[in-house]
């Protein structure tokens, strides 16, 4: 690949005349329907298909159309942003205290928030107590995304016929492929990881536990812990992580976290809506063990998010935990 200066590569990026991503990726093939082909073959194959689909006569017009397309795209973007700018021009000024957005709702959140939720972090109190329904949905968005990714990427042996050759070949091939990324007793990486991973995970736990007192909370903390796990995986490989983290653990954690979240919130909503007293003490504001349900919910969300992040990585890498 010839060296190009920054500007020209930027230009290429914009005009897509050639895409780095596309050029540099190794072409690997994993199923029978599309036979193994080199890049050149693939190119001319595409050309053939194009001939087939748009007849050869108007290839030139086809190219023209591609060019026109780009122009139109820019025009569209300009027009769209113009519309938005006109809108913004009519919006209330930023930062004014008497904007419509700053109304009784946020006053109450700030004034009563502490005593009603017991959380000094008003945002945490808001998303986990006042508007907890949204957050419940949000955590399930993550869940359903994880499920969809699993459907797409998980390779597993069929139970109907365990010696289904195609799928087993695919799995072994994927693992072979994965060996490329496996560490080969990379001393530096492993030592640094041994140093860093505990710190990262500890920090994540700290962020989770202080979600109701300081910036942070379940999601961010969980993401940090996930990052720690991924670093560990990269340093020590699957056979080490599988000892303490396999699919079963993953499923159990996800289920228990989400189910606990849903049921606890259901209880809270039920009591609140029917005017019953949910015997959940608010505790002393500012202490770790305070703010009623917020702390346990944070922990649950944290576990779920950590596992999901790790699972995403593992799926992307070799199609399975």
């Amino acid at each position: 690949m010839k060296k190009r200066n920054l500007f020209s590569s930027l230009l290429d990026w914009v005009w897509e005349s050639r895409s780095d991503l596309y050029e540099n990726m190794t072409i690997r093939d994993d199923d029978e329907e599309v036979n193994v082909i080199t890049k050149a073959e693939h190119k001319e194959d595409i050309e053939k298909v194009k001939e087939k689909v748009f007849d050869a006569a108007d290839r030139g017009s086809f190219r023209k159309w591609r060019f026109l397309y780009k122009i139109l795209a820019v025009v569209f973007a300009v027009f769209f942003s113009a519309v938005l700018l006109i809108t913004v021009g009519q919006l209330p000024k930023i930062g004014e205290i008497n904007n419509p957005a700053n109304n009784e709702v946020e006053k109450r959140y700030i004034e009563k928030g502490l005593e009603e939720t017991g959380a000094t972090n008003i945002v945490a109190g808001m998303i986990l107590d006042y508007r907890a329904f949204d957050t419940l949905g949000e955590s399930h968005v993550l869940f359903v995304a994880a499920i969809a990714v699993t459907i797409l990427l998980r390779l597993d042996k069929s139970e109907r016929d365990p010696e289904d050759t195609k799928i087993t070949e695919t799995i072994t091939e994927a693992e072979e492929e994965d060996k490329i990324f496996e560490p080969h007793h990379d001393a530096i990486l492993q030592k640094v990881a041994m140093l860093l991973v505990p710190i990262i995970i500890l920090f994540g736990i700290y962020v989770i536990l202080n979600g109701h007192l300081s910036p942070g909370g379940g999601f961010s903390g969980g993401a940090i812990i996930g990052a720690g796990l991924i670093l560990y995986l990269n340093a020590f490989g699957f056979e080490n992580t599988e000892r303490f983290f396999n699919e079963k653990v993953y499923k159990t954690v996800i289920f228990s976290g989400l189910a606990f979240y849903a049921l606890a919130k259901c209880y809270a909503f039920f009591c609140g809506a029917n005017g019953l007293d949910s015997h959940i003490s608010k505790g002393i504001p500012g202490h770790i063990l305070s703010a009623g349900l917020i702390l346990p919910l944070d922990i649950a969300v944290g576990c779920v998010v950590a596992c999901t992040m790790y699972a995403f990585y593992a799926m992307f890498r070799k199609g399975g935990l």
Binding site: I46, I86, V105, I110, I122, V123, A145
Partner: protein, 124 residues
């Protein structure tokens, strides 16, 4: 037309970014660039929301030594919305990326048009 575009320049910027991301997601052919466009779009929306919450001279809504006057803190609602939105965009991005992986493994290209051509050829 009395516009306070100059006061809202930050919002204007966020909206322009939104338009760029939207166009990328809609009209780009390369799947990865589409996903980048998606993230640009979402980020622009979060910027917009954060600006909505901001009030001059107020600090982040974390109660320090028990001061609970609304005059002290900014509006917490948009921050909450941003948190929720981030999670959503993370999940969606993961899903899109995995779809892209599958398509690339099957068709060795990231160009959506090429993929459609391949499909037409397969006549599946």
């Amino acid at each position: 037309m009395n516009t306070n575009l100059l006061n809202n320049y930050a919002e204007a910027v966020s909206m322009i970014i939104f338009a760029i991301g939207f166009t990328n997601l809609l009209l780009h052919k390369n799947l990865i660039k589409k996903i980048i466009g998606l993230n640009i779009m979402d980020t622009a929306v979060y910027l917009f929301l954060a600006l909505k919450g901001y009030i001059k001279g107020h600090v982040a809504p974390i109660i320090i030594d028990g001061v609970v006057e609304p005059e002290a803190y900014i509006n917490p609602i948009p921050s909450g919305l941003v948190l929720t939105g981030i999670v959503v965009s993370v999940s969606v991005t993961a899903l899109m990326l995995s779809l892209t992986i599958r398509l690339y493994k099957r068709y060795h290209t990231l160009d959506l048009d090429e993929i459609s051509l391949r499909l037409k050829k397969e006549g599946l």
